[in-house]
């Protein structure tokens, strides 16, 4: 059964259903069920190794306030 665009006019309900297999009018309710999942960022770039002269001095002169 095909219906021209915009010809349906049914009531809203959770997750887009009206309970009769038809669709709510508000597109904001048409989305999938919410079930959050954690996605940790992946490291792809190597951190550039900089020659930190201050760090070298701190290692050489431990205890000094450099």
């Amino acid at each position: 059964m095909a219906v021209p665009m915009g010809s349906l006019n049914v009531e809203m309900k959770d997750r887009g259903e009206t309970g009769s297999g038809l669709l709510c009018d508000d597109p904001a309710t048409w989305g999938p069920p919410e079930a959050p999942l954690d996605m940790p960022y992946q490291q792809l770039e190597r951190s550039p190794r900089r020659f930190d002269i201050l760090m070298q001095l701190r290692l050489l002169f431990t205890g000094q306030r450099i």
């Binding site: 059964m1 219906v3 665009m5 887009g16 297999g21 669709l23 048409w30 940790p40 992946q42 190597r46």
Partner: protein, 598 residues
């Protein structure tokens, strides 16, 4: 959840990789020796080093491709039993879209939903829209209402539009997984032009159930619905040669396989654990969002110990392809930028060696066009700048010494390169004739005609493709961001004027090269005609190859015996178009009926 199994290749994989590498290296070194030997006859020039290195790289690449085809000739034993208990896993089919024709896209979903029910599966389908314009969103919403009415799908077919398009398609899928991924075990990722049968989806789910360490299973989609000469030739090649090359790839890759971004199934916890892509530092084209995200996601799954495999034996996986050279080149420009961006990831921590090699292959697929172009330029330049032959190199010499003729070696090299290009295709033809597979392509004779026609067409178009690819690489290397425009699907025939506008620069380069060679190195003219003539005829070739072709040439099994899911899509699409009427079709933009690429 962290699997970390041993993904190191088994003995058979190592052996086949070794054979392929040795074959590619032998061909490359042989070609290099031939070129160096011929070049050094007239003394050493700096061009000679260039040419030797370039022929080494380009021939090695061709031989590697040939090795993939040849190693795929032998059928594969199925390792998973064909029947298993029905799955208890929860699976969702994801359809990310952005400015697609909603009527065609949603008609495909209706056909898939019908096929899913026929296969007694219970899957959710989620349309993930990144469409921004209000007009196009309204068209999608109207088409979604039609879809729900057609399928009675409220409750298992969903539609959501993202407020922010962060990360493009990869970000779209990631957004779904972060917000809703916990509800499902597996997700089938599709493109807007993808079609998959319920049986194919059931087989993918079964394989995922059977192997808890399998993170991603990629199918080989067959191209359907091609109309033009170019499109039908590509459709035939994908159907006839594609499964064999993919089988070679399967043998070579072991458990560190490819992901092509669609027509694949992923294990959601594995994907969530492994595949949140960061933005790369710096600006596009090398920084910013990762464009060719699929290769990277496959590498990241493998990094976390999940198996990634391709299975070309799963039937019922379909997509559509470009219908003309210009839309092919437009898609290639995107892929070129995406693949060259992988230069940044070659040294990413923890990746499997094969994953890095896959990145290298993707980069090389585009750089090789530049290498061929530089090889041709250096050949002409070398001939022009070569010193005059010295017929009397020694004092008091009675008879002249003529430079030795190396035409035979050069001819051998040319034939060898042509052989690497066409040998796998004829080997596949022979294999198809012996195994009976050719029957699906109209019999052995029609398969032969189709193979030869496809080789002739691709040979004629090769210099034009080389020009477009070389330009794409140079644009990316000069840091021009081509972005990631929406796909141009279902585009129509190109006029000569359309083709000429887009290929005028190729014609100019071809004419310049022809005239320069004629004036400065006439001996090379005949060797360069196969390159320069197609470039000069580019507008004619591009427009001619975009014309519709009858159903008989390049026939494929899916045309002889139309798969039910493809037939259902065509029936639903035609009916919806008819019900909507011409007036509404033109308001539902963009549309596959009216789009013409620029």
């Amino acid at each position: 959840m962290t699997a970390k199994p041993d993904l190191s290749p088994d003995t058979a994989t190592v052996q086949i990789r070794t054979v392929a590498v040795v074959f590619a290296c032998a061909c490359a070194v042989g070609a290099c020796i031939l070129v160096a030997d011929a070049d050094l006859q007239d003394g050493f020039q700096v061009w000679d080093i260039f040419r030797a290195v370039l022929i080494l790289l380009t021939t090695g690449w061709l031989a590697w491709g040939a090795a993939l085809g040849l190693t795929g000739l032998w059928p594969k034993r199925r390792s998973v039993p064909p029947h298993a208990a029905s799955s208890t896993a929860s699976t969702v089919v994801l359809v990310p879209i952005c400015n697609e024709d909603p009527v065609a896209t949603f008609a495909r979903i209706a056909a898939m939903d019908r096929s899913i029910h026929e296969a007694a599966l219970h899957l959710d389908i989620v349309i993930l829209s990144d469409t921004r314009s209000a007009e196009n969103q309204a068209a999608e919403q109207a088409a979604f209402r039609m879809l729900i009415t057609e399928t009675n799908g409220a409750g298992h077919i969903f539609y959501r539009n993202r407020l922010e398009n962060h990360g493009r398609k990869a970000g779209n899928v990631e957004d779904f997984i972060r917000k809703s991924g916990g509800a499902y075990d597996y997700a089938v990722t599709l493109d807007a032009d993808s079609l998959m049968s319920g049986a194919a989806l059931g087989e993918m789910i079964r394989q995922m159930d059977a192997d808890p360490k399998l993170g991603l299973l990629q199918t080989l989609p067959q191209i359907t619905g091609a109309q033009s000469f170019f499109g039908r030739a590509m459709q035939f090649a994908a159907s006839f040669h594609g499964p064999i090359f993919t089988r070679g790839l399967e043998r070579m890759q072991g458990s560190v396989g490819p992901y092509w971004g669609h027509n694949a199934i992923i294990r959601i916890p594995a994907f969530a654990q492994s595949c949140k892509l960061p933005e790369l530092s710096g600006k596009p084209p090398f920084g910013g969002h990762i464009l060719s995200h699929d290769y990277v996601e496959a590498a990241l799954l493998a990094r976390n110990g999940w198996r990634v495999i391709a299975d070309s034996s799963i039937d019922g996986s379909f997509e559509e392809g470009p219908e003309n050279v210009l839309s092919y080149a437009k898609r290639d420009r995107r892929w070129c930028q995406g693949n060259l961006q992988h230069m940044r990831l070659l040294l990413a921590p923890g990746l499997a060696g094969w994953s890095r090699f896959v990145f290298v292959q993707g980069i090389f697929a585009y750089l090789v066009s530049v290498f061929w172009a530089v090889f041709l330029i250096s050949t002409v330049s070398g001939a022009i700048l070569a010193p005059e032959p010295d017929y009397f190199p020694n004092a008091y010499q009675l008879f002249p010494v003529f430079p030795s003729d190396r035409s035979r070696e050069i001819l051998a090299l040319a034939l060898g390169i042509i052989g690497l290009l066409i040998l796998p295709k004829f080997a596949i033809l022979l294999n198809a004739a012996i195994s009976g597979r050719a029957c699906g392509f109209g019999g052995v004779y029609r398969s032969l005609v189709s193979v030869v026609s496809e080789i002739l067409l691709t040979s004629a178009l090769a210099p034009i493709m080389l020009a477009y690819q070389t330009r794409a690489v140079l644009q990316v290397l000069s840091r021009q961001d081509g972005g990631w425009p929406a796909n141009a699907r279902g585009e129509g025939t190109l006029t000569f004027a359309d083709a000429a506008r887009s290929s005028f620069w190729i014609v100019m380069i071809g004419m310049l090269a022809l005239v320069a060679t004629w004036l400065l190195a006439p001996a090379l003219l005949i060797w360069l005609l196969p390159v320069t003539l197609p470039m000069i005829a580019a507008p004619l070739l591009i427009s001619w190859s975009s014309k519709p072709l009858g159903p008989h040439p390049f026939i494929t099994p899916t045309e002889i015996d139309v798969p039910p899911v493809v037939g259902a899509f065509r029936e639903i699409h035609a009916r919806w178009r008819s019900d909507l009427g011409a007036a509404e079709i033109h308001t539902a933009r963009p549309t596959e009926l009216t789009h013409v690429p620029t």
